[in-house]
């Protein structure tokens, strides 16, 4: 069965804050019964202080869905509403010492229940734009719907491009058949044929030719920076979906420094994300560039190495 952390097991076997909540003034019902996970989160928010005074859950779902619900109630109790809105699905997963990739959607459901319950408290209508498909990439927990959407939106043609945009396929590579099938289908819809010969044997990102000099493509520095900003802006919705963000810090010749913010900062996948941004920038600018995390900008190399004991 699943390799659940002890924390997940603890919150499954002894779930906290179970049941309906008498006098709740914020209720969020989310989930999908067809997927086998559904959650009702009930909150008592003090209308004067905006503090969540009590939170309880009722969950139809698997072990990690129940544990995620339990963790969520523990995290948000005592928080102010505005503070609670900043809780991400990663916060829930981290609280439980991680979830298997197939189960990350349980933490997403927790975050959505929270947003729905707060919307309900504020008298707003909560609309969900989240559509979940079958899991394709198990290394980075990327589902079919997400890949399909990005292949459509960005006119992607190769597995490598899909990996750059979504991280899918960037790990063990076992899902490349599945990604190729999505590409084939979407490309057929737009009247193109997937070129199997363009599929790289190995998904390793190609090393940048170091000698390549920035040509600038005839742009002024200002135009070039605006162009870079525009690319980051177009990627932003995907980053925000994961609870993160990115910010342009400095452009030095063909080296572009970008700061990863929120969930992206410190995320194990940050380097994949940076690789994806780099790919997009190269396509847009038509020149070889290198994207470097902004932390490397100011730090002398010896300080960048953190002491691992603590």
């Amino acid at each position: 069965m699943w390799d659940y952390s002890d924390k997940v097991k603890e919150h499954f076997f002894q779930p906290r804050n179970v049941g309906a909540l008498e006098g709740a003034n914020g209720i969020g019902d989310v989930g999908s019964i067809s997927c086998g996970d559904a959650l009702r989160l009930s909150l008592i928010v003090n209308p004067d202080t905006d503090v969540i005074e009590d939170a309880r859950f009722q969950t139809f779902g698997c072990g990690s869905a129940i544990a995620s619900s339990s963790a969520l109630t523990e995290i948000i109790k005592g928080m102010k509403v505005e503070e609670a809105l900043k809780v991400t699905n990663d916060d829930i997963a981290d609280f439980l010492d991680g979830l298997p990739p197939e189960k990350m959607h349980c933490s997403v459901m927790g975050r959505e229940a929270l947003q729905a319950a707060i919307a309900n408290f504020k008298g707003e209508e909560w609309a969900d734009d989240h559509e979940e498909g079958a899991l394709v990439c198990k290394c980075f927990a990327v589902d079919e719907k997400l890949i399909e959407g990005l292949v459509r939106a960005h006119n992607l043609h190769t597995v490598q491009e899909v990996t750059n945009y979504t991280k899918a396929g960037g790990g063990c590579c076992s899902c490349h058949e599945g990604i190729e099938e999505i590409l084939m289908r979407v490309m057929q819809e737009r009247g193109e044929i997937f070129d199997a010969d363009s599929a790289p044997a190995v998904a390793e990102p190609e090393p940048l030719p170091i000698a390549a000099k920035a040509s600038g493509g005839g742009m002024t520095s200002v135009q070039r920076i605006r162009r870079i900003e525009a690319v980051i802006e177009s990627i932003r919705p995907n980053l925000r979906m994961d609870g993160g963000d990115a910010e342009l810090v400095e452009v030095d010749g063909n080296t572009i420094y970008i700061k990863m913010i929120g969930a992206c900062s410190g995320c194990g996948m940050a380097s994949m994300t940076i690789g994806g941004i780099q790919q997009r920038l190269m396509e847009e600018l038509g020149e070889f560039i290198k994207v470097v995390p902004a932390e490397k900008l100011a730090q002398p190399p010896q300080q960048a190495k953190k002491v691992a004991h603590g």
């Binding site: 049941g19 009722q58 969900d128």
Partner: protein
Amino acid sequence: MADIYLDNNATTQCDPKVVEAMLPFFLEQFGNPSSIHSFGAGVGRALGKARKQIQALLGAAHDSEIILTSCGTESDNTAILSALKCFPNRKEIITTTVEHPAVLALCAQLEKEGYTIHRLKVDKKGRLDLDEYQRLLTPNVAIVSVMWANNETGTLFPVEEMAELAHAVGVQFHTDAVQAVGKVAIDLKKTKIDMLSVSGHKLHAPKGIGVLYLKRGARFRPLFRGGHQERGRRAGTENAASVVGLGKACELAMEHIEFENSQVKALRDRLEQGILAQVPNCFVTGDPDNRLPNTANIAFEYIEGEGILMLLNKAGIAASSGSACTSGSLEPSHVMRAMDIPYTAAHGTIRFSLSRYNTQVEIDRVIAAVPPIVAELRRLSPYWGEDGPVTEPEKAFAPVYA
């Protein structure tokens, strides 16, 4: 207290006599059965004996109809792909919606490659409509592949009758019988079944050994080509120790087939009745009057299977579930969906599958353990009220994007 194993449709414990029969083939009789010297000859004889034991259990007319493979999945794939190669002008396959993935996933792939796949539907009890089958059965069909017994519910399909119908129009018939062999009396020489798949580890032999029965005269094209093993129909050096183990397991299965259909069946019925009598809002899925003697599949409404399994596991009881979450997919079991079991119940299906090793003491422990587990999870469920489902559960709790 020792843990209780009720997941025998997933895999079984090797019978100690099987292990005993296998052991000499690791350190002493390690030769290649194809070799002429004394190291090989003894192994060759042992394989011959095992083939006879397998033949006897299946009621095959000839021992040369037994092709040894690595597993049930290989046998299923070999059978279907063989028919497509034998009949290149036939582009249709008939199967059912409730087959094992070993057949369904292959058919889905073949569909992408241009074949037409007819998936026979089942009713709410998991039964086929033979009229639908006969309508689809034309000379355009390369092969029919229908399981003998369903792995989730144990429901039996009338494969002997279906094979007759296929034979009448000149269509090959294959059955995945991995769950049926050893639990259902089989006499292949009296049937029109062309091919049948067996998996060793479902009947107390080790994992990694299977059989494809191929009726003499049925057209066949191998999946593997190479050496002359299995008369050129499945190349690759024989898994000698496992073949010997499977032979022994078949002999033991023949001895126990009565026991399976009396004692094991009685324990299964006791378990099922014990649970149904105590737990409200649960029901048996599949066709209770026509199923394997060892399988009970019970749907517990308004809760999800993985939670049940985790709590059962904590109580030292091993079973399995048709819930989405145990497989990592988003949909609950395709078998439950095919029978139109509502989502609120399909996610909460639990399969208890017994073997000849289970005892009444064990079964009584399970009967005592299940009700509090179900009650505990229902306490967490938004569909469950004080002591029953909330009124109009689907309306009282209708989550966004359901």
